[in-house]
């Protein structure tokens, strides 16, 4: 399994990369950490004419505080995210979830921007970014725009990003960092893609659910935010079993997608298990 032939470009800065993406109608793919794109190329699921390697673009590798939000460059690798003092201080949820993403050797190369751009429905980070009310910055040679994470993910490997655009940063409001969060995923082996998973966040107000977000992943074509579950929990005590049962029942009636190993009914069951355990594991 070797990739098909391509032309390799290694732009030194962002504007050169964006110009390449703009330049013609050939099949052009940006290469970030390569931990998903390289296998796809080896399998020949992706056969770009031109590969634009982003690894030399230093301006995409920073984590900075801007006003009241944290800006994470799209080429920040998971291992760097995990070691960042800014992320450790402001977003314990991200730090908690990173060890669930594949394995050390993968996290040493894989980038946040790559995961966001790929939009694998089984990936953790898209759901985490929705839980954190993040915005995705997209740049083309003509303009730059911000899209809310909830609107960005459209379907399986499908996002709001156009082919001439790059994800340049992920912006998370510091005030969105939840006081309590719960996370649970069902996997066959540590680090595998999840069969189902759930993240629950709450801005605790005197031991009750407050501004709760409930998001499922790996069970549908994209992250599934459960507004009804959130409504069922909000305002209730963290130990209110009736409210929690209502929130878990609200998983019913949503559209689940099967994968190679699990049919829709299994996904729905695993979604409920994940949500129950995520709520049960809420911590501060």
């Amino acid at each position: 399994m070797k990739s098909s032939a391509f032309q390799y470009e290694l732009p030194e800065d962002l504007s050169a990369a964006l110009k390449l993406l703009d330049s013609n109608d050939m099949d052009i793919l940006p290469l970030a950490g390569g931990q998903s794109l390289m296998p796809m190329m080896n399998f020949r699921l992706a056969q770009p004419d031109i590969l634009v390697d982003l690894n030399k673009i230093d301006s995409l590798k920073n984590i900075t505080i801007e006003a009241d939000s944290v800006k994470i460059g799209s080429m920040v690798r998971y291992c760097e995210l995990e070691q960042s003092e800014i992320i450790q201080k402001h977003f314990p949820l991200i730090i908690h979830v990173i060890p669930y993403i594949a394995h050390s050797a993968i996290r040493n190369r894989g980038t946040l921007g790559g995961s966001v751009s790929l939009a694998d429905p089984a990936a953790e980070m898209p759901s985490i970014l929705i839980a954190l009310n993040a915005s995705i910055e997209l740049s083309s040679s003509k303009n730059t725009r911000l899209v809310n994470a909830e609107d960005f993910f459209k379907g399986i490997f499908e996002t709001d990003k156009k082919s001439n655009e790059l994800v340049t940063s992920i912006n998370i409001p510091i005030s969105s960092s939840p006081k309590k969060f719960g996370f649970y995923e069902v996997t066959r082996r540590h680090g595998d893609y999840a069969m189902a998973g759930a993240v629950v966040t709450s801005d605790e107000g005197q031991d009750s659910f407050n501004e709760t977000r409930v998001i499922l992943f790996a069970v549908s074509t994209k992250p599934m935010r459960l507004i009804k579950s959130e409504a069922a929990l909000n305002g209730n005590n963290l130990n209110n079993q009736d409210a929690i049962s209502t929130a878990i029942d609200a998983v019913n009636g949503n559209t689940f997608e099967s994968d190679l190993h699990n049919d829709e009914a299994t996904k729905e069951t695993l979604a409920k298990v994940s949500l129950k355990r995520a709520i049960g594991g809420l911590n501060g």
């Binding site: 070797k2 032309q7 390799y8 390569g34 931990q35 594949a102 993968i106 190369r109 082996r189 680090g191």
Partner: protein, 159 residues
């Protein structure tokens, strides 16, 4: 269309300059162009961990990197593991505990184990298992591998 590129890579302390096809994976460059066949090609899509090696102090999957991306990097393969210190201790411990049978996973396994120990990994079997979860072994059942790493974590380097 330019399909080759000249790269300079330091491998096991030695500098190499080669012109490579841009689509060539790093593992194939090491094996075919440099003759360093210690790193193994397993699944070629980042799942099995057999091709894991050290690049600039971190483990990477050399099947998920292009050789051209290693330009300017420092790589350590199984051939370049030092014959003293923690690496040597780990090799001895693998032999002592029978932590390999066919040996196909061993270069990648040692690379991951070394990263664990070099980053201050503790003698904790659960943590060790989690760290090597990205490396498949089809012979040992992992128990012996975990014990081999555990022993080095607990006892350190014998004088």
């Amino acid at each position: 269309m330019v399909n080759t590129k000249t790269i300079t890579v330091t491998v096991n302390g030695e500098e190499y300059t080669n012109t490579v096809n841009v689509r060539k994976n790093l593992i194939d460059y090491l094996r075919e162009d440099l003759g360093l066949t210690g790193s193994h090609v397993g699944c070629e899509h980042g799942v099995c961990g057999a091709c894991t090696l050290d690049m600039n102090g971190q483990t990477v999957r050399s099947c998920l990197m292009l050789a051209v991306q290693a330009d300017g990097m420092e790589i350590t393969t199984i051939e370049g593991l030092p014959s003293d210190g923690i690496a040597e201790e780990l090799k001895k411990s693998f032999a002592k505990k029978n932590a390999l049978q066919c040996g196909y996973c061993t270069p990648g396994m040692l690379s991951s184990a070394l990263e664990y120990l070099n980053n201050g990994g503790k003698a904790n079997k659960e943590d060790i298992r989690r760290h090597i979860s990205g490396n498949y072994c089809r012979c040992t059942g992992y128990q012996a591998i975990v014990e081999a790493i555990y022993d080095v974590a607990e006892n350190g380097v014998s004088k």
